[in-house]
Symmetry: C2
Subunit: 443 residues, 2 copies
Amino acid sequence: MELGSPGAAPGGVSVSAVLPAGGSGERLGGATPKQFCAVQGRPLVSYAVRAMERISWISDVIVVVSPENTETMKTIIEKYGHKKVTVVKGGITRHRSIFNGLKVFAENEFSSHLLQKPEVVIIHDAVRPFVEEDIVAKVVMAAKEHGAAGAIRPLVSTVIASAADGCLDHSLERARYRASEMPQAFLFDTIYEAYQQCTDYDLDYGTECLHLVLKYCKTNAKLVEGTADLWKVTYKRDLYAADSIIKDNLSQQVCVITNVKETLAQVGFLLPESLKSQIKVEAISQSLSKNDSHLQNIISGQCYNFVCVNDKRCAIQEIQELVDMLEKSNIPLLYPVVLISLKHQLDYCIWTKGKINITEEIGSTEVHLDISENNSFSIGMEDLTMIKKFARETKKKNILVYGLLIQCKDPLLLQETVNSAAALIMALIKDRNPELIGQLLVA
Amino acid sequence: MELGSPGAAPGGVSVSAVLPAGGSGERLGGATPKQFCAVQGRPLVSYAVRAMERISWISDVIVVVSPENTETMKTIIEKYGHKKVTVVKGGITRHRSIFNGLKVFAENEFSSHLLQKPEVVIIHDAVRPFVEEDIVAKVVMAAKEHGAAGAIRPLVSTVIASAADGCLDHSLERARYRASEMPQAFLFDTIYEAYQQCTDYDLDYGTECLHLVLKYCKTNAKLVEGTADLWKVTYKRDLYAADSIIKDNLSQQVCVITNVKETLAQVGFLLPESLKSQIKVEAISQSLSKNDSHLQNIISGQCYNFVCVNDKRCAIQEIQELVDMLEKSNIPLLYPVVLISLKHQLDYCIWTKGKINITEEIGSTEVHLDISENNSFSIGMEDLTMIKKFARETKKKNILVYGLLIQCKDPLLLQETVNSAAALIMALIKDRNPELIGQLLVA
């Protein structure tokens, strides 16, 4: 997730990007413009900024926002640690905003220092969060060769023209037409010339940059087949879809850290096996302190899900170490991290019937685990209160802590119980529900 | 949710509907055709069928599926209690499938008995789950007057034509064009004539019914502005969106049933108040048996969320009564119902310090609630096992049972604790997560 060192751009050209983010989001039906709507706690515009900024060969990212949102945008940039970004005040229409963004490279009007003019400029939308480097590179290469290029997608519905009486005039043959999507890219001088030459009517009523360079620079843009994930967040349902896609993307890998005594090691072995059918699993079986670099590698490889398998003696202390490592890594800065503290109580292993009280020191808090006389476990409220308190603190760091208890009296049922724990772990990871933090689930 | 008695159709015409459901769902990227993908446990096609079937003035709903899916479709119809439906085998293209669907009203080829030919036939998609009666009526009225009509939506992206070299030829002025959506409606004789006259090329490569009636019957369809929810489930993200929209729709109302002693009535009062800021609340404060008709009205008014506030003495028994009522009502047939069993332990009210064991008889299962000696509560594993077992049983009836415990020692903190319970209730309702059933959350 770290920004790469400046890499070679496709075709060796210098490249920067302009992101118009001035829209009002009327179609979304809410008060907040859609680019500022939170998805997994982070404004949509931050995803698009990140998608551009992480591409090593993109030098500058210009975000154009309406004047009243300048401060909001600056706060977002600071909060999510965005680099490379310059915020520019937009105009009253999309074209005027893009033009303002381009001026930063050509005039002194919009920034204290003139930014280095790129050979190719990418134009992308603040509300298209999922653009991959691959398609951006293709569009940039095509722009270098043709002067302009844009991503396209097949039409989902037939397009029709209506007559003045509101009746069908004709329908277009779907195969001949495409939807024009983003990103687009242009030789900077070409698109800048088009904007300088175009009319006020173009600036006020047009929306399509490819059209401007065709009309004013006789440049026929190269069309590049884009992937399905380029779609634009337009309606509320698109926000829902974006949220689900991000949660899906974050649910690809889990790291299971087991630090238990040998008599209890079964769960540490069985659990990763059970999870493997559903998710990529990295299993670490030594104690944390002995294995910092391995875990560090997993964290910096962008793992967003952790299960700590504890016996009675460790628990929160070990989790706190992981929380500290995650915090240092900046991993929770962009996406919420799920951290599940799994305890197991396998009474057929080590305990005898009778009342036992195991107390452990965690900071200044005491944890009680009671085994009541009827040979069933019980969870003390003190435990629950402590987990909750801890989870509330770590949530401020964008780390979602949940508790999970495996309780199994019968060795023959252990596999089944572990499978049920794996199902709960997958549910917690996929859901990332911030309201359920600090709860103790039981498998 | 009950099917209405046959109502008067708009304009007094007889109306039936054809739903092509033969698509392979290539764009979705899965093995299951999208119309059979489950959303909240139910295949998408069932939502579209239901949307048509619940409109009282629609007589028959013809679902056209590919031959290999006929049995699947018949099973769906039986499982979800669909009425009015006839399953017809489709052809190899969309147009051929629709034609087969229409033939049911005109030829003996496809069904054992010829269905009554409607004056107006609606054509809708199996993968557009959210169509409202209002827009269907508008389209039917327009079809009666103009011979054909279809819902349209503004274009989301600019539409462009590409030249043979893969470069931009021209872009369309977005304001002049519309996306053609569904439902569409036709005078039956008009659309049937169009299908009878059209060429094999039309049947194999065309997709737009409005185009056929224009070409072969000189009928210019009336275009009707549709609502945003008419969109077609095309990609995986659309399935995510559909799932979220359905969960949203199911989270509009909660019924809080309080059956507690006076000393504990505070929660029964405070909780609905706290919930009211987030959801419509129906509060019932008497015991269930005394209030059957009121509760029955709430259930048949399509309430999908229930909170039972219990003191120590009732619990599962009361919930079982509600489960029975819900089962009888058929409400869980189409959508999962959330049922939260809320217990409160307010030890400042009635309990003194010391070890207490309250045992209650529930069927043959005993529940223990222990108050341990340090004046904190604990949850026995026996309780948890019992809730889980019960929840697993009710899940088979599409009723999702969760446990929630309010524990509060300090009267001054009661409001805060109740607010936290309300937040958990909202999270459970909005999520409807089947993996978390039988868990006991603590506020």
